[in-house]
Amino acid sequence: MTSPRKSYVRPLDIRHGRIDMSHGAGGRAAAQLIDELFIAAFDSDGLRQGNDGASFAIPAGHRMVMATDGHVVSPLFFAGGDVGSLSVHGTINDVAMCGATPLYLAASFIIEEGFALAELQRIVQSMAAASRAAGVPVVTGDTKVVEKGKGDGVFIATTGIGVVPHGVHVSGERARPGDVVLLSGTIGEHGVAVLSQRESLEFETTIASDSAALHTLVAAMLAASPDGVRVLRDPTRGGLATTLNEIAGQSGAGMLLEEAAIPVLPQVDAACELLGLDPLYVANEGKLVAICAPEAAPAVLAAMRAHPLGGQAAQIGVVTADAHHFVQMETRFGGRRVVDWLAGEQLPRIC
């Protein structure tokens, strides 16, 4: 009598293989992709349970925060990061900007047929490394495959949840005239780094994306003054200018900035000059803006500067009373001008 043969599943050929439609069909091929590529990289309890969702206990009596972010950056790999690490940092930062401590992430992949498994693995491993470094695990996910030509490599949507510590009230409408505007460091690196690697526009630069998870910086700032930090926001698409206009609109106030106080790397300045861009409108992925009560600002600024991601933090302006909600700026040249919303699309698909 012969015993039934042990079935043999050929492992994924990561080196030469490509995504095909079966990887999104929910059958064995999909299960294998999830096991060998995703779970192998993320290695979280939530994912290993193999359920449709992840379950976890939440701390009682706390407010929760939930944020979601789609990532469609082109090219997928750029100096200082890739779509994987970006999708982790972007959502952690969105949660952190609500004053919350990020706890868990969910990730949804939309992959184009024909995408190389080796590239997918590189992205997933980078994502896993970013999530481990941040201490925020990916606990649930989803994979879909679209026909060739219907996507562009891979799109990653991530969702994060977090808890808000007691005594913290961070929200975009809380800026008051007299408050102080703090910025955590130099602006424009992410946008310029991505742009420099676009096929149509390659130029040599030493600029790397500033992509980073900002939740520990936020924790340090809130520790310095839990109630003095009124607004937090990361100036991603549309850059610092757009972010400040959003806050001005939400809070019904104006702002007055000091151009000379806004830190910009000379390489970024030079690249923007050459391309006709304004660093104020270029995306960042590892910077934040904080609006603080004036009495809390010195302590918060000191806490930022003591953190590795805030070494170049600076006070860049003040909140003003202005019925028109203008963000204005004293230029380095001596005149004053409006810093308006970004019109149109300066740089498509930057994050």
Binding site: P177, G178, D179, V180, S200, L201, G254, L256, E258, A261, P266, D269, A270, E273, P294, Q315, I316, G317, V318, V319, T320, A321, D322, A323, H324, F326, Q328, E330, T331, R332, F333, G334, G335, R336, R337, V338, D340, A343, G344
Partner: protein, 386 residues
């Protein structure tokens, strides 16, 4: 930034501002037109108007390549993309200029037109090489600065026998536009647009040199100072214009000596002459038909001329009735004089072309200076400015 910061030094700017204030004659008004959009942008972005005495008024000129592009020309480009299935390549700002039927190149792209933003004519050539089975049209706009790259692209296409590449040529000429303004009734007869001199083009003059402006100084008695695009260049040029007016001189002076010579770039001029010839007439938005004010592709390059290749017929289209772009481009009105400025017409939804490019007078004023139209002084309520 080395070599740039030196031209944006605020302390030096204030000194020049004080010099200008000291030298203007009491009771006399000085009205200067900055021809180029690059100057308009610098004036708005750096707040130069605030550094000038009230007697010195800057009038915005028509030198914004996107602004002067008439609707009919954009319609041609859109029809190539939507009706002829061509890949249309063009510079970024052109994408948002309003055309007929509530369209723009950007909206035509959303309707399925294959319209691509390029940074140079060379990029458009590359698109043609990569898509040999498709027609690729470079929608070429701009003054003398962008003309040589288009000429080079046409010559390369001929040398490579790139059969699927052509150019929809809308290149225009600066001196004829200045003549047109000087000959306009508002300047010549009614004097409703007082013009005491010109801040002359920067990059255009690198190509054509400063000699072509001698006629304006001599025949129309208008001082011209060729000026760089950096804010200190503009300040210095205004001071030089004030001095010419005070002295009763009308000369061409060159502030932009680091880049501009009398004869300009001869190599580029020869290249342009090889590929292009003058058009007898060309419609400008705001200025109407201006004789000998634009370039056409020479018959030797006919195979690469999109107008001939696709048998395009130009059809003029009137501007939106409420739009004052025409008067603004001639210096007759200012952006805030337009009823729809900042209300219906904004950079997000431009009605007129001056609201599109950052070099356009309306966009520059809206983006950087509109707080001056509103009688509100903005002061921090409690804390001091940093």
């Amino acid at each position: 930034m080395k070599y740039i910061d030196e031209f944006r030094d605020g302390a030096l700017a204030r000194k020049i501002g004080e010099r200008i204030a000291a030298e203007v004659r009491p009771g006399r008004r000085y009205s200067f037109m900055e021809f180029c959009g690059g100057h308009t942008h610098a004036i708005s972005r750096y707040g130069i108007a605030e550094l000038l005495p009230a007697q010195v008024q800057m009038v915005h000129g028509p030198g914004c390549p996107v602004c002067v592009l008439p609707i009919g020309r954009i319609d041609l480009a859109i029809s190539l993309a939507l009706e002829r299935g061509a890949i249309v390549c063009t510079y970024g700002d052109t994408m948002r200029v309003p055309a007929s039927g509530q369209l723009s190149l950007l909206r035509a792209k959303a309707r399925g037109g294959d319209i691509r933003m390029v940074y140079s004519a060379t990029d458009a050539l590359q698109v043609a090489r990569q898509n040999p089975q498709r027609e690729v049209v470079f929608f070429a706009i701009g003054f003398e600065t962008t003309t040589p790259p288009t000429a080079l692209a046409l010559r390369t296409a001929r040398d490579e026998q790139l059969a699927n590449f052509s150019v929809l040529c809308c290149h225009v000429l600066t001196p004829s536009a200045i003549t047109h303004i000087l000959e306009s009734p508002e300047v010549k007869q009614y004097g409703t647009v007082p013009l005491d001199g010109f801040v002359g083009p920067a990059h255009v003059s690198i190509l054509i040199g400063w000699a072509p402006y001698a006629g304006f100084a001599r025949d129309y008695r208008k001082p011209v100072v060729i000026s760089g695009f950096e804010p200190l260049d503009v300040m210095q040029s205004i001071l030089m214009l004030v001095r010419q007016v005070n002295d009763g001189r009308a000369e061409v002076e060159n502030e932009f000596t680091r880049a501009v010579t009398a004869e300009g770039n001869r190599t580029a001029q020869a290249l342009v002459a090889e590929v292009f010839e003058l058009r007898e007439n060309f419609e400008w938005r705001g200025l109407g038909e201006v004789p000998f004010s634009a370039l056409r592709i020479r018959p030797e390059f006919a195979a690469f001329d999109a107008e001939r290749r696709f048998g395009l017929a130009y059809r003029p289209v009137p501007d939106n009735k409420a739009c004052e772009c025409g008067a603004i481009l001639r210096g007759v009105k200012r952006p805030a004089d337009c009823k729809i400025f900042g209300t219906v017409c904004t950079p997000e939804n431009p009605v007129g072309s001056c609201m599109v490019s950052s070099e356009g007078a309306c966009a520059a004023h809206y983006t950087y200076g509109r707080f001056r139209d509103i009688p509100v002084t903005v002061q921090p309520a409690t804390a001091e400015a940093p």
